[in-house]
Symmetry: C2
Subunit: 383 residues, 2 copies
């Protein structure tokens, strides 16, 4: 049995020239050469900046991509959820950090089983009750669990609320024989997508001063954090220059998406990364002049970041509008004639992470030829 | 090996009293008694109204639910896409109608293989080129394919554009020995969610007059459609009263969701169906007074229909805001204290169909006890 529906449908097309056009649609397509250039570009940036990388696998959920990132120098991968980490450990990926707290009894039980298989796995925590529960479970399981204190940068999603609370939690961890204080996490999520580099830099500089104070306080108290982890594709250049983080949790750079494509990532107006992730769709109905309907709707891409730009297959100036769960309408500019039924149209995902989460596999292409199919092993593993 | 990640995590909880509280979250939960009452209520309505049901499986993507609908009297199920139909045929479900055109060469090849296994399967078409391609493929495969002409009700998504085009396409189908003209489809998608019953009725009555004229024209030409299929949960009472449809494609009534819960479905202000589909989430961080963070974000529910109402686990008046891919923030009313970490919070999906598409299984409960786990066999089968 093939591991995914995509393998079942498309394995016979691998290596056949021009086979991209024969994919059943909607299909999640990944341009291998662009992906490899993106991975190499971020790896070179990190080497030049003398900073570590622990790329976030919540973007790609793929052991194949994690392996390539690690081969290029990354320390491992971050995982948003325990289920994603299980998928990575199953595939032999090490150096994992779970970036959200694991608080439930069944979750903590699974976490201990995972640490037994992958001893360098780390988890974040932000509450004394959770640390106490982790310590008890690790002692019972006979493992030593590495815990990273998550610090709230002011957006009130997760994290401890003050420098004092950070120090107290680090002390609580360090005092437990079944736990190891591994460092701190500081993730400015909402700052990643500020379009202007200058504005992003001002805000991140201010936030990072707060982090720096906490790191100094911890160090003075004999709890120097071995890792200071955080940052993302939107702030990587700023984070590296400020010199407080020891490693970056960059995720979206591997694929890029429309949200990041409109951000000035390096402050020079350039685009350091390429749009490797695409969706191929097909025209299924074209009975009304000036428009056509394609087979990709709310079930084929995340919708909270707006409509996807259209990369290929339509006249310049064509617009996109969702038309229900299964379809979208493309409208051609005045006077232009558009593609007829069965024509392929290529879209750019508005927001890559939750779009990837809708598909079972990447259709990896070189030019117009399907070269590999990679399962999205962490798809739906949000728990 | 268990068929889903949910089985792996939770099969041992089946039948254990109170086991709903032990589910790893986010979990898609289905209240079995509500589901059964919803199925029975729509079946009784159809019997009383002397109209057929072919419920739409794009909502549930589950052979278990299809089987219950058919046991209650339905003729089969509709499927939005070929991939969903394959999943249903794999599970032994018959009486299928694919409600979107299948236009690509690889899709048509799969369609013929499916008809060979499930001879009563029907597909919609809206273009002469597509009908010609279907006829050629069916002749080559040695099958007779039943084709339903899809008529555009004016929303320009799919369907032929005029009465004349309907008749011409029906004639083209009837003239092919490898095809059978099975009837017409007419789906007023955007009308389903008009909140006021009176407004919805006015619009649907007008649209249905157009459909009635086409049916009369076909009948006069010796092509009386055996089925006239369409309608949905939002218009079922109006459609049945108008007497033009022979069967209804109701989908969301099995679960209900927030979008439909605010619609007056029968014109009497009552709620004929219950909120059977729910999402259980957990508080993972609670360090800021007046708010908490739960483990359900953009990857746990469809977002295009707004925020989910909170059904249980929080003080009255608590609000919800998405906070990224993996999290949401719940904010308590002034002065109220909310749940702490590890507490379970139950949400109502804003829009059921694309939410179901994010999960591998239903956690079927009776009261607070997990009683079954049903795989979502059609999940992600959008092609």
């Amino acid at each position: 049995m093939h591991p995914t529906d995509s393998h079942r449908l498309h394995a016979h097309l691998i290596g056949r020239q021009g086979s991209r056009g024969l994919l059943n649609t909607p299909a999640l397509v990944l341009d291998l050469e662009m992906l490899e250039r993106n991975i190499a570009a971020m790896a070179a940036f990190a080497r030049d900046s003398r900073i570590g990388l622990r790329p976030h696998s919540k973007t790609h959920k793929s052991p194949e991509i994690a392996r390539r990132q690690i081969a290029a120098g990354a320390r491992g991968n971050c995982c948003a959820k325990l289920g994603e980490a299980e998928a990575m450990v199953d595939a032999g990926i090490g150096g994992l950090l779970i970036t959200s707290p694991v608080v439930s009894a069944p979750g903590i039980e699974r976490l201990m089983a995972l640490v037994a298989r992958s001893p360098d796995l780390m988890v974040t925590a932000d509450h004394p009750d959770n640390v106490a529960a982790l310590a008890r479970a690790a002692a019972t399981a006979g493992v030593v669990l590495s815990v990273v204190v998550d610090i709230d940068p002011g957006m009130h999603r997760t994290g401890v609320a003050s420098p004092e609370a950070t120090v107290a939690l680090a002390q609580q961890i360090a005092a437990q024989p079944s736990l190891r204080f591994a460092g701190v996490q500081f993730y400015c999520g909402r700052h990643q997508h500020i379009e202007s580099y200058a504005e992003r830099k001002t805000e991140i500089t201010e936030r990072t001063a707060y982090l720096k104070g906490i790191v100094e306080q911890l160090t003075a108290g004999g709890l120097k954090p071995a890792i200071v982890t955080g940052g993302g594709t939107g702030t990587h250049a700023i984070d590296a220059a400020l010199g407080v983080f020891t490693e970056l949790q960059v995720g979206s750079y591997v694929f890029m998406d429309h949200q990041y494509n409109i951000c000035d990532l390096r402050g020079d107006g350039g685009l350091p990364f390429e749009q490797a992730l695409q969706i191929d769709a097909r025209v299924v109905s074209a009975n009304t002049p000036g428009m056509a309907t394609i087979d990709s709707g709310l079930k084929s891409m995340a919708t909270e970041a707006g409509a996807p730009p259209i990369l290929a297959g339509v006249p310049e100036g064509t617009s996109f509008r969702f038309a229900g769960d299964e379809h979208a309408r493309i409208t051609f500019p005045e006077g232009a004639s558009g593609p007829g039924i069965d024509a392929v149209v290529t879209l750019v995902p508005p927001h890559c992470d939750p779009t990837v989460n809708l598909y079972d596999a990447y259709h990896v292409v070189k030019g117009h030829t399907l070269v590999e199919i990679w399962p999205i092993a962490g798809r739906g593993r949000s728990r």
